[in-house]
Structure formats: structure tokens, C-alpha cells
Amino acid sequence: MSTSLREWSTYAELSDTPLTEADKAYFRARTRRQIHGEVLDRFEDLRELGMLNRSALARRLGVDRSYVTRLLASPSNWTIDTLSDLLLAMACQASLRADAICTGQSGNYSHPWSGLGRDNQMPPSGAPRSSVSTDDDFVEVSGPSSPAYRTPTKTESLAA
């Protein structure tokens, strides 16, 4: 049996084709990363303002600081309850929005070192690059928003 992720555009279709476990795993991981990023953004906003650090977050949650470090490091063991608790401890709440998977244009920034040698590239292994794109972030966090891209600034360290 040979398998790969399907063409992106098919994810936007309500077809009868069953989702594969790989399809589901990929979107679960994206969702998890999205939520983790939102929580970290909020935490960093508060930390930079001097309003919260890991120790204070641990006290508010009633857990060890090391446990908070693990929570912030990765969302691998998060449940919806974990998310809710973290947000509440940061004086936030989640608001959920489900967006249709989009096949339109998005994401037009390209790092100057992206695409090097592409014109002279030998045929790569694997699937071709898709020309369609999406904007499927669906978890918003109330509070200060974080820009999608900021110019390089400084070390954001959790040394607190």
C-alpha cells in the first residue's frame, strides 16, 4: 500500500471520500500548533509588559513552575481543559471560530533564501508543490493581538 496526503483542494470539498488517519493527524497537529502559538503569544505579551511570568502563572494555576514550563514548551499533552485553565490564568478566554478551508491566495512573503536553485533544480522526490493555499486559523484569544510577523528584535527568554 502506498499513501500520501491528498491534494490540498480536496480538503475543501465535502466529498464521500473517507479522511485517512494521516489527513486527520496532519490537521490535528496544525490545530495544536495554532492553539499553542496563540497561548504563547498571549503569555509573551503579558511577560513583556511585566504583568506575568512563569512563577506567577504557576501560582495562579496552583501547580509547580516546572509543570508550567512543560506546558508552555509543547502542547503535546494539552486538553481543552488545559487550554481553558491556561487562558483563565492569563485573564483570557478562548473564542472559537470555524473557517471553511480556503483554496484562495494567502501567504505571499518569501524569505530571500527561499527558492534557492529552484530554476536549476533536479526533479525532487515526493509530491509536487500545490498552488493553492488556506487561512484556517480558528482559535482567537481575547486580549492584545500579536502581529503575524515582526522584524527581528530581541531574545524572548523565559528566564523569570
Binding site: L5, A29, A73, S76, S106, G107, Y109, L116, V132, S157
Partner: protein
């Protein structure tokens, strides 16, 4: 030639492949992989279990490429960070990193080095249980030397020399 020229030449020769997101997204942190590593992640895969594992690896790489928040550590203390430096014992050596995919079973590690700030060269994909840290570092550095000769990867005690922004560095 610059290291940029070297990467361009290696891609032209088919010895490196830029990892492509699906769908095409903004690229803030390009990732170049050995062709075999890229093929392993992209598929096609031999069975569905492998597909599930590589789906998690792909999602983690795409998060990095598209400027997602990244957690990092220089030491093995903080658990579960996205990027962890392997060569903590001798900081004079070229710095080898592991990109940690912790949701897949088994977990996977993409081993590699930063060519310059925000540009990662992945040399090997290894199941976590098969990782032998010294061996992985030795192989990664040998692969680097084979690709780029005397050009040095980023080696620094400042995390922002590796990743410019949207990084939470845990100590």
C-alpha cells in the same frame, strides 16, 4: 562563493531540496533537506502508520517555516521544546540541533544545523528511540562538511543568532 551560493548549488545538483509546505504558504524560515529526508516526510509512504507519523513531522516543520511560535532550549532540562541543541557538552563545536516531533508514535527528531539565521539544513530524520546523540551529531557534521566544505554553520550562545523572532527560549 558564499554559503548562500553553496546552498543554491547543492539544490541545483539535487543534493538538497527545499521543504515545501502544503499549501504554499509564506516562507519566513526556509528549511533545506537531504532528498532522502524530504522524500521520507513527503511520501508516498509504505503504510498508514508511517503516513500518520510523517503528518506530525510535516506540521511541525510547517509551523517553523511559516513563522509560528517556536520553543527552544540549549540544554536537555526543559522538556518537550520544539528545537533543542544537541551539542551542549562542548559549546565550541558546530551546533547541531534536533527538531522534536513529540506527538507522533514513535516520536521523531529531525537533526540539522542552521546555515544562517532562520535557515535550517536538515540532515537526518531519526525515530526518537534510535537516537544516539553523539552519533547523530557526528553524522550531521559530516554531512554538513560534505555539503558545504569549510563553511561554518551558526554557532552561538544567543538564540536569536539562530532564530530571529517569535522564539521562546526556555532555560
Amino acid at each position: 562563493m558564499s554559503i548562500r551560493d553553496e546552498i543554491e548549488a547543492r539544490v541545483g545538483e539535487g543534493r538538497l531540496v527545499e521543504f515545501a509546505t502544503i499549501p504554499e504558504m509564506s516562507v519566513y524560515r526556509p528549511v533545506y533537506l537531504l532528498p532522502g529526508v524530504n522524500a521520507e516526510i513527503v511520501g508516498p509512504w509504505g503504510d498508514e502508520d508511517e503516513g500518520v507519523q510523517m503528518a506530525y513531522v510535516r506540521a511541525d516543520l510547517e509551523n517553523f517555516i511559516t513563522n509560528g511560535r517556536i520553543t527552544t532550549a540549549f540544554s536537555r532540562g526543559p522538556r518537550s521544546v520544539n528545537f533543542r541543541r544537541l551539542s551542549e557538552r562542548d559549546r565550541r563545536r558546530p551546533t547541531v540541533w534536533e527538531v522534536r516531533t513529540v506527538n507522533s508514535r514513535p516520536q521523531y527528531r529531525l537533526v540539522g544545523l542552521f546555515a544562517v539565521q532562520n535557515v535550517f539544513i536538515g540532515t537526518e530524520l531519526v525515530p526518537r528511540d534510535d537516537m544516539h546523540f553523539e552519533d547523530e551529531q557526528r553524522r550531521a557534521k559530516a554531512t554538513w562538511a560534505n555539503l558545504f566544505g569549510s563553511y561554518e554553520p551558526v554557532t552561538s550562545e544567543n538564540i536569536n543568532e539562530y532564530i530571529s523572532e517569535r522564539v521562546v527560549h526556555l532555560r
